[in-house]
Amino acid sequence: MISVDFHHFLVSIAFLPAMASVSSSMPSEQDIYEEHVLDHYEDPYNRGELASATHADEGKNPLCGDVVQVSLRLAGDGKVEEAFFDGHGCVISQASASMLMEEMEGKTPEEVKDFTAEQMLELFGPQLTPNRQKCCLLPWRVLQSALHSPLEEDEADDDAAHFSGPSLSEEN
């Protein structure tokens, strides 16, 4: 189980310009719940448990109680052969999980690691306020930690030491 504080770098992306001119550029909820997002929410990609998973982890957002599990099967060549998610939560976290699973299949571990929070927010699409960015990024950070959480001892991950994700401090 992981719990990560995004606050430090989240403020630097996307939202501060909106704060500066408060009301005019606030994201509209109409956009947040655009059809594309609701489609993923209602008809998610690879939702469920992956019986043949080689790597898996779970994370939660204590602010709202959202829980996301990610299970991966890495092929012999190291590529993400299958990526599944499960859990419960708001439209944003569940839709972003679906989008992310779809996006990550076929990627190498390096490509997954290089997939940044900014890219995740871009993949999601509609602009989000900082609190909702946490919802959107929950599946992304669980994916990052799942990559370093092999399910069997003999698959210990050499890359773990080089993990360059967000600092693992407690969420407040």
């Binding site: 009301s23 005019s24 606030m26 509209s28 909820e29 109409q30 947040i32 719940y33 059809e35 594309h36 609701l38 489609d39 993923h40 209602e42 008809d43 998610p44 990609y45 204590p62 602010l63 709202c64 109680g65 959202d66 419960h88 939560g89 708001c90 439209v91 944003i92 679906s98 989008m99 779809e102 996006e103 871009e122 993949l123 699409g125 909702r132 919802c135």
Partner: protein, 425 residues
Amino acid sequence: MPLDPQSIRQDFPILKRRLPGDQPLVFLDNAASSQRPQSVIDAMTDCYENFYANVHRGIHTLSEESTAGYEAARVTTQQFLNAASQREVIFTSGTTAAINLVARSWGDAHVTADDTILLTICEHHANIVPWHQLAERVGCRVEFLLINDDYSIDTETVAEALQRLQPKLFAFTATSNVLGTVFPVQQWAQLAKENGATVLVDAAQAAPHQAIDVQDWDADFVIFSGHKVCGPSGIGVLYGREALLAAMPPFLGGGAMIDRVTVDGFTSAELPEKFEAGTPPIVEAIGLARALQYLQDTGLNEIARHERDLAAAAEQQLRDVEGVNLFGPRQSEKAGIVSFTIDGVHPHDIAQWLNLRGIAVRAGHHCAMPLHEHMGLTATARASFYLYNTLDEVEQLVDAVKQTREKFARSGRRRRRSSISSSSS
């Protein structure tokens, strides 16, 4: 006389605020923090513009005037609580700081590994975590009174627990910030006294809505925050029985709380300065006093009745909406708080969708995770009413909740495969 919310609304400049899409603001997040009338803003501005200086220090006009304003605020607060003495009123930075002060100072001095602290499951984290921390330091036990299916706690349950556990401290909220349940403070305090327990009442949700008489309650500690009573953020009040406060060691060390400091040590100041180390929230105290006067001028009983009417109307209408679940006792002794969920819709999505209609509610665990866990929920949405809310706003809330349900109801939509490539561009 029933209060007139339309006339009250004229006193609160922020209620004129328009949200994106030119939506008027429907502010229903008062249990988290209330708004301020112009008179409070003016009182604080007046201090900053005309007589601000540090208190209890300078031998100059501004410091004398600031000190007079600050100490007058203490008297106003004393009268608001009907405390016996000004020395029983300590200004802190808020409810959380006040409870931590008691846990650190009184707790460390009096609680041992053999002792029990008794709480209710309805406490918010500010009245739970300081006691868990105390338990980590001294090894005491922390026990919780649970709620019944009707969201109340029986007197018999309280009496039985007090008798069985013989707690050193019974610390409870006067009003649940999630359920709105109003607990019988006087009765519980009496039962606690009979069993030798010290009593701490978290009045953060009670002070905004009811006249408080700490002598009637006969509680040892009573605590509330400025920002929930139409006052500023950054200030809270700790009432403590004088004999208890006098016997407690100081908590924070620094300026103002000392009598004398030498290279070898210090002696602490008299009450209340003993617990007010450093520069206190001077302007906030002045604003708080003006807010308390505003509430008293309006009439706390009238405010409470108005909120109950609004909450009752909201509950009655929401109860009829399919898929809506309400949490909290029915009417009678209930504060103006309505917590609810909608089947199949996460509370964050409820709050976000209501916000589109200009309606501000809280969604989440409301800093009361043990209570939500006890009820088998991860989160709820909460509408909390105050003196400036109207029946018209209740209608808007109910309409928006109905729309929320329609918006997020599963409609059998399928993901459009073509969106995969366009979404990542």
